[in-house]
Structure formats: structure tokens, C-alpha cells
Amino acid sequence: MNAGPEISQAFIVCISAVFTQNILLTYFLGLCPFLGVSREVKTATGLGFAVIFVLTSTCMLNWLVYHYVLVPLNLEFFRFILFIIIIAAFVQLVEMVLDRYSPFLYQQLGVFLPLITVNCAILGASLFMVIRDYSFIVAVGYGFGSGLGWFLAIIAMAGIRQKLVNDRIPQGLQGPGITLIIAGLMALAFMGFSGVLQAR
């Protein structure tokens, strides 16, 4: 197998997952924590890093499990349950390892890890990867790009929301309402990137 074009395709998929097809702003995945944990830049950063890490790793794991276990056994439809169990188990494992070996990282990321299992972006990326039939290298690029895209979106949102704290917002619009409208504006801005990657 020639790896050259694979890697360049992985790179392109990665960039497009960050900008043109941002998993949060075009697919609405991971919206719950996005709305919930975007009040402060600091917490958003922690969660964002945790998402990048878990998303990339579970994309790899799920790819391997899907292609080496489920496909040979003809149990592709089982992926829904298996993927989420793998994600949950992986998160649990990371939590234990961090707790044992790196108290610093555990302090930084530990509290966010349990939230990640229910983050639909993680499962969503794995499912998209299967539907689009990515090869392993491309799937890794896609996982990383999706995580990075989510990270960028939540940090930008947290920054904006910190600025909004003292603004007067109509009562009914406070909280989720205004956050969603800002997210809409961000999605609009990100649509501007779609010219970056022209059809090849």
C-alpha cells in the first residue's frame, strides 16, 4: 500500500473536519456540553483538550474493532452498542491511569472525563468514520481534526460568553437562547471557510 496519498488525504480530511465541516457547527454534535460548559475559557480549555484526546483515541480503537471484529463476524449493526461501551471503558481507563500516574493531568482533565462519554461528538465521529469508509490513517486524521474543531468552537464560545456577562439580555433569551444564536453566527462564520478546500 502506498502511504503517501493516504497521508495527504488524512491531512485534508483533518483540516476540513476543523473548519469546513466542524463537527459541532455543521453537525450539532456535542451540543449539550457545548452549551453547558462554555461559561469560562479555563474550564472550556480543559474539556476541549480532553475531547481531542478521547476523540482521536476512540476513533482509532473503534476503527480497529469495527474492521477486525465486527466486519469479519458480520455484526456491523452491533457497532452502536460496542462503540459506546468502548468509549466508556476507554474513558474509565484513562481516568484510572491519570489518577495513578499523573496527579497534575488528573487534576486538570479528571473532572471532565466522565462528561465525555455522553458527548455525542465522540460516538458521532466514530459513526461518521464508518459510514464514510475511511482508511485507518484517514480515520485518525478525521478523529483528531474533529476534536480540534470542537475545541476551537467551545473556546471561542467561552470567550464570547465571558464578554457577555455584563450585557443586558432579554430575560427569555438568557442562557441557552443567546448561546444558540451566537453559535449560529459562529456557524455562519465557519461556512466562510468552505472555499478553503476546493473540489479536487
Binding site: L25, L29, I84, V118, L173, A187
Partner: protein
């Protein structure tokens, strides 16, 4: 797995351990504790398909099916399930119903199955399903749990259908694929933005705003 961030971030009242009362369950699910504008839960998996009414309808039916039945099943097993593996069992049960929906769609409506793509599978991580199983199914008998799941899903569906109808009408001039007078005519410049992702965010934001304002006014008046 924790739902702290999902469930009470915006402070919706919870219905744990209340005496089951069908009327209350219905009103809570549809309005007072509405999953979308009150709890702001689980919009991720469905928002993406709200640019077409038909896709939304199918997705909502799938959600109603999954949510009501898995809440009932969780509640049936609540006396036997050990607490420490409760979450795993709930995921398993939800996953089971989701796979059934996915298989039925693949076999009998393949076009719809490809249209919805991965979003059917994403019902598993839809916080509202897990949230209702946790908050209600776990502590109440199967009958009320089923009702609670059903009306929560219905409350969720009606908001999404409003969003989908407006998006499809303004964005494409059709509803359910049928051209609408005026909107499909030459005088209506189609708002492509409504069909694109930002349209969903704007619509959901505006709908949340409107319904919350109504709710705030109502509470204000009753006080």
C-alpha cells in the same frame, strides 16, 4: 458517566419520586419540563435533520419509540439491577431499541436510512433518553415511566417539528416536499441559510426565546 452538566444546568424541575399522576406527567413532559426549551437536552442528535420535515418526523418517531420503551424496560428491571452497573444496563437497553429502529429502517425504508445517516445511532447518546431513564424510569413503575418517556419525547418532537417546518418552508419553499403557495413561487427568494446549519441554531435560539418568554410571563402572572 455523569449527567450533572446535562440535566440541571439550566435548572428544570425534576420529577424524582413524586406520586405518579398521568395528568402531571403529560403536562410536565409537553410543557413545564419540556426537554428542549426547559431542560435544553439532547438536541444534538436531531437538530441536524431538521432541514426537512419528513426526516424530522421519522427521527422523532424513532425517538418516541426508543425513549418510551427503554424507560419502561429500565423501570421493569429496576428492582433487580445492581446500582453500580446501572448505567451500563441502561446503555445496553437504549442501544437495543436503537438497533431495532436502525434495522427496521434499513430493511423497509432504505432511502430514509441513508438520509438519516448516523443520526439514528446517535439517539444512544441523546442525553434526554438516558436522562429520563435515570431521573424517572429508575424510581417509578413501568406504566408511568412509559408515559413519562412518551410525553417527554412528544414535547421534544413538537418543538423540533416547528423548527423543521419553518426551516423547510423558508429555505426551500416546500413542506413535506410539497411546494407551498407563494413560498415556492418566483417572488420568494429562498433563504438558503435556513437549510444550512446556522439556520438550525438561529431557529432553535429563537424558539427557545419565545417559549421561555411565554413561560416567564405565565409564572409572573400566577404569582
Amino acid at each position: 458517566m455523569a449527567f450533572g452538566v446535562c440535566s440541571n444546568e439550566w435548572g428544570g424541575p425534576d420529577t424524582v419520586n413524586k406520586k405518579p399522576d398521568a395528568r402531571k406527567i403529560i403536562i410536565d413532559g409537553l410543557w413545564r419540563n419540556n426537554p428542549v426549551f426547559k431542560q435544553v437536552l439532547g438536541i444534538c442528535s436531531t437538530l441536524a435533520v431538521t432541514n426537512l420535515v419528513l426526516n424530522t418526523v421519522v427521527m422523532c418517531v424513532a425517538l418516541i419509540f426508543t425513549l418510551s420503551l427503554s424507560a419502561a424496560t429500565v423501570s421493569l428491571l429496576r428492582k433487580f439491577t445492581p446500582r453500580n452497573i446501572r448505567m451500563m444496563i441502561e446503555t445496553l437497553i437504549i442501544g437495543f431499541y436503537v438497533i431495532i429502529v436502525d434495522l427496521v429502517l434499513k430493511a423497509y425504508w432504505p432511502e430514509m436510512s441513508t438520509n438519516l445517516g448516523p443520526y439514528v445511532g446517535l439517539i444512544i447518546t441523546n442525553c434526554i433518553v438516558m436522562g429520563r431513564c435515570e431521573a424517572y424510569g429508575n424510581t417509578n413503575p413501568p406504566g408511568p415511566a412509559f408515559l413519562d418517556g412518551f410525553f417527554n419525547a412528544l414535547g421534544y418532537s413538537f418543538i423540533l417539528l416547528i423548527i423543521a417546518t419553518i426551516r423547510e418552508l423558508l429555505g426551500m419553499g416546500t413542506v413535506l416536499g410539497y411546494p407551498m403557495p407563494y413560498f415556492s413561487g418566483p417572488y420568494w427568494d429562498k433563504w438558503i441559510i435556513m437549510v444550512a446549519p446556522p439556520g438550525a441554531f438561529f431557529m432553535l435560539g429563537v424558539v427557545t426565546w419565545i417559549f421561555r418568554s411565554i413561560e416567564i410571563r405565565r409564572e409572573h402572572n400566577t404569582k
